[in-house]
Subunit: 257 residues, 2 copies
């Protein structure tokens, strides 16, 4: 089985490594940046190109790990190979491939990927969508090679899932970032926060997030809230975030006592 | 060793259970709600009272697990016992006890507590502050009975720590809550999000939150952001949060490339 990656970022890197670990041949990596293509190609024992005209034409799967606008412009330039064309985008519709080929799909792993952090795919949900039953079976088999949790999901639900993931992951991580910034100002190491962060994440396996909510906003502790706002007086951005989230938590729990 | 709890909420419950497990006698639980006092007293094999005049006077430690404003009004009514007086508040100064007694302190466990979720204190940071060296040693010994991570921290740093914890825990949990609400609208079970949430929490042990940031906001993926905003068109509150956090992440990463 041969795969080509179009894109060389976090998703291409981690998915490529997962495929390679299962014996799948990564034939080629394309990136418009030659050095990025080369870095990933080395990790995957693949060839690399930075001109889309040099695309290898005989692979079984072509994985596009590109942001939305770049996917569109890249597809326009491609002389379409016969292999299955797949993108990995949470918010990108399967219809991007329509009219270009008949064998296409989506392979969306619900996870946060960074280039320098290895990932075990075993437990990662992979959401599959396909242009026909044959492609669907082939994508499912591929997904099941690396993960025990595969789902069939249409573009509409996948987009909603991706939005939900932005809150649960990207915005959550940004809360960690603000927290770490605040601690740094007092010379306190962010390590002290790890047990709390882990428990917050573990807790919602046995309670709903609504039940798990704690803190001054939910218990209407106005004195504490004023102290916090005073501490944030020099950081107008974090202060605005604090106020908006506190108001919103408060409202949600008053409406649902 | 005898302890009295003033308050019967999440912190009193979990701290009381941790002490009890180490053989410490919980002598009495006070709450202005008789039924709340009784519920916790039963768990801790303690007596319970709802009139502060009935306070047991010979305990070694009095733990106040109350919100800020309630602590103040409760202290006003108490005929001060000779035992050590301690509050558990992150944002409450040690000075609340000044003028009332000479043996007082703070015992702040940095964790999120819910009544119905058992907690292992072993790894929980406990921040101690005390009115004198003798009280400090006694509070440290007590903290070390249940936790391997004790810290001495003054009221100013503790308040900053508490603020940082609101972001890392309470606001993070609220991101989970919004995420779960969005999935429910599409009939998708929140379980699908657990691996992503755990990885987001684990990731910041090896990367800084700044390095760990992923998602449309940090990669300036405007097409995806517009799709998300369109999906949120009927939920003005979540939309406002999405916009503010996206703008802020974007700015932070443009300022620190």
């Amino acid at each position: 089985m041969e795969v080509v990656f179009i894109g060389s970022g976090n998703v291409a890197t981690q998915l490529g490594l997962a495929f390679k670990a299962k014996g799948i041949i990564i034939k080629q990596v394309y990136s418009k940046s030659t050095s990025n293509a080369e870095i990933l190609a080395k990790k995957l024992d693949a060839d690399y190109i930075s001109e889309i005209e040099d695309l290898y034409m005989d692979a079984d799967f072509y994985f596009y790990a590109l942001k939305d606008s770049v996917l569109r412009s890249t597809l326009k330039k491609i002389d379409m190979p016969t292999g299955i064309q797949v993108h990995t985008g949470g918010s990108i519709s399967i219809s991007e491939f329509e009219g270009l080929t008949s064998r296409f799909g989506v392979f969306y792993p619900l996870q946060t990927f960074s280039v320098n952090r290895a990932i075990d795919f075993k437990n990662i949900p992979i959401c599959i969508e396909a242009s026909n039953v044959d492609v669907q079976e082939r994508l499912l088999s591929l997904a099941e090679l690396i993960s025990d949790r595969t789902y069939q999901m249409n573009s509409e639900n996948r987009r909603k899932l991706h939005l939900a993931a932005v809150f649960a992951c990207n915005f959550t991580n940004y809360m960690y970032d603000i927290s770490s910034k605040l601690l740094a100002e007092s010379g306190i190491s962010f390590d002290i926060m790890h047990p709390l962060i882990l428990e917050t994440a573990e807790k919602i396996k046995s309670l709903t997030p609504f039940q798990a909510q704690t803190g001054p906003a939910v218990r209407l502790d106005e004195k504490t809230i004023s102290k916090h706002l005073a501490l944030l007086s020099k950081d107008s951005e974090s202060k605005e975030i604090y106020k908006l989230l506190t108001k919103s938590i408060n409202k949600r729990h008053k409406l649902n006592p």
